[in-house]
């Protein structure tokens, strides 16, 4: 696997360059905003990638807390299975009852509920299968760090897009503000990791991650209501998107996902090596004969 890394790196670089070309040349010019709108092809994929990474961090944090005892592990497994089953049933029910179907937000299909549930459960069990309890903590750190990097990109490209289009650098719009809060929560997570001594760090950080994950939907919801009471410029509204633009967007997202994967892989390996080194150093200190006075 390790030999694959340079090849994958080159392939990803090529893919990213191609995606950049798509974004700059191939994508059609937007009518009202002009070329500045092309920031969209970097801004949105970065946001989706950051959210995905933070979600993986959430799973990893829960697993770290839960897998240390057999009973909580079992409870968690069965909860996930229940979630998957319930979402499937809910999808079928909603699809068959027209009133419920109308209650769904515009443009979503009932099947997406099932898909979401299955994907969440699937991710949980995949991570559980391939990562041991210690490894899962390394995964948590990795995804938090790389997630913060991508989130920073979102928060920088956002104002750079807003300024020429609306004339202001920042607005307390739902998405920008909830992304900022998400960034703040995960930066505080990373600071906690750095500032606490190694014994209890993973547990406390995992607890913080769970809090953060609970917080995010609340943040989104409260800011959404906040905003609807104080009308502000709407960020790229709902409605359909030009299929050519959609294509470029997805290609860029895919390219960034590959890039994020490689970055996470490197960071993860770094973390595993670092832990091994620390353990070895601790062992050496214990076994050192020099420290014993003669």
């Amino acid at each position: 696997m390790r030999k694959a890394f340079p090849i994958l790196g080159i392939l990803t670089a090529i893919f990213l360059s191609y995606a950049l070309y798509l974004a700059l040349e191939v994508a059609p010019r937007e009518q009202t905003m002009g070329d500045v709108q092309r920031i969209f092809y970097y801004h949105v994929p970065s946001a989706w990638t950051a959210f995905l990474l933070f979600f993986i961090n959430f799973i990893a944090s829960i697993q770290y807390l839960v897998r240390r005892s057999r009973s909580s592990d079992k409870v968690a497994n069965w909860t996930l299975i229940t979630v998957a089953v319930v979402t499937c049933i809910a999808s079928v029910v909603i699809a068959m009852v027209p009133d419920l179907k109308k209650a769904l937000p515009q443009g979503t299909y009932p099947s997406s509920i099932a898909t979401t549930g299955i994907i969440i459960a699937g991710m949980y069990f995949l991570i559980r299968k391939y990562f041991s309890v210690e490894a899962v903590d390394a995964l948590a750190v990795t995804t938090a760090e790389v997630g913060v990097v991508f989130c920073t990109v979102v928060l920088v490209t956002g104002p750079l897009w807003a300024r020429p289009v609306w004339g202001i650098w920042w607005t307390w719009d739902v998405r920008l503000t909830s992304t900022l809060v998400l960034w703040l929560i995960y930066v505080s997570y990373l600071i906690l990791r750095r500032f606490s001594s190694s014994g209890q760090t993973p547990v406390m950080a995992a607890a913080l991650a769970v809090f953060g994950a609970l917080d995010v939907p609340l943040v989104y919801f409260s800011i959404w209501i906040f905003r609807t009471q104080h009308p502000q410029p709407v960020v790229g509204g709902g409605g359909s998107i030009d299929p050519r633009m959609l294509h470029v967007l997805l290609m860029n997202w895919l390219a960034f996902l590959c890039f994020a994967f490689l970055v996470c892989w490197s960071r993860y390996r770094l973390e595993r090596i670092k832990r091994e080194v620390e353990e070895t150093q601790a062992l050496e200190a214990l076994l050192e004969p020099r420290s014993v006075p003669r």
Partner: protein, 41 residues
Amino acid sequence: MNFLYAAYGATWAIHIVYLITVYLRYSRLKQDVDELRKSSR
């Protein structure tokens, strides 16, 4: 437009800075590994 290039440039600048920090931590770690190997001999 200048903002467009600034945005793309900033994106890659952020990613590159992060990758550099990862690389620096990695090389420091390699030093530690070499030291450990030496002392265990």
